[in-house]
């Protein structure tokens, strides 16, 4: 069965690009645009990897909240954090909250695939 990946980001174009790329690599991909949507999906499906931006101001919540939520509910799920701002400080905070890997935006899709492969043992 394909690994299931959840992408949480407020940039629709980027989300579409990530989804198409990962789906093409054989992953089953879900996307969430808001905290409750992400929490609902996390409650009903088992994800190998969650990819989340740290700054989700358009969505009204922070990625750190989501990282803590994922970590409290699943120790198996790997968390990849994307961010384009305040890199060093946020990275330390996200790491302490339970994030497994980090990518600085903008990044190449191939880098996203490689990072997923590293944390989850999959390949794109």
């Amino acid at each position: 069965m394909a690994d299931r990946v959840l992408i949480i980001d407020d940039d629709e174009q980027l989300v579409d690009a990530y989804r198409d790329y990962l789906a093409g690599g054989g992953y089953e991909v879900d996307c969430a645009q808001e905290l409750e949507e992400a929490q609902t999906l996390l409650a009903h499906f088992s994800y190998s990897v969650v990819i989340t931006d740290l700054r989700l101001s358009k969505l009204g919540f922070g990625g750190l909240d989501l990282i803590k939520h994922v970590r409290e509910n699943s120790s198996q799920t790997r968390i990849i954090v994307l961010t384009g701002y305040g890199w060093p400080e946020l990275k330390a905070e996200a790491s302490a909250s339970g994030a497994d890997a980090f990518l600085r935006k903008p990044m190449r899709l191939k880098d996203l695939g490689n990072t997923i492969a590293q944390v989850a043992g999959g390949q794109v």
Partner: protein
Amino acid sequence: MRKSILETILDPHELSVRFQPIFQIQDGARHVDSVEALIRGPRGTNFERADILFDYVRRKKAEAAVDQSCLTTICDAAKNLPSKLRVNVNVHASTLGRNSEFVDFFLGHVQKQSLAPERFTMELVEYAPTCNIPELTNSIGKLRSYGVRIALDDVGLGQSNYRMMLDCHPEYFKLDAYFVNGLCSDTKRRAVVESVVALAKALGSSVVAEGVTSNDDLLQLETMDVDFAQANLLCPAISLKDLLASGYLDDPAFWAPARRQTGKRNVYNLEQHREQLSLAAEQSSPA
């Protein structure tokens, strides 16, 4: 900007409805008593599944708005059902407990669709413990004055507790599948079901067993004086088209005189049911 899931759900055209018959199970026969309308979310999304859809709705605290959207979808479909068939509709107790708007919306909407309010049973579901009971009982009183019946859903779980039984005076207790599965071989489950049946009878209510998965459990329920059963074993939730083609609604009592059909009262028959469903599926398949 793309519509959020909530915005999508609040568009009644994005929702669909399935109907699952509720069978009277006493006297050895399986007669359809009513149908429960079951909402499905936007097609092709994770939220098509009702459990995921309503989990999300509760997290968004949007029960009242979504209950209205669901009712709109159900009434649009129910107008094509036999005019004497009773229809069960799920509504959050918190929706009825928040204000009387939903009752007015319901009454206005059924009138618009030329549906008699007394055909409806409101199945109360609740997951939050903070329901406004006085407002809830006021809403129930108003619904009852129009002939609407009340069912308490998921009895034995969550907020479907003794207080709700006393405050809401439900005509029906809907016994959750958790207590029904494996009933015939589990003395503890039988003890729970016996107590619920005794309580329901003492309060003047009927019991509907949900999620019956075996004929042995079904027979056990019958001997335990359970009045009704709703289960995939008898008939799964199906589309309006399949339900109308299934033959379950051929009972003349369901139809107004102008649409009265001839035919004997429908008695449950598994083989006949399978044939009917496969025929209905064939007819509804695209060419």
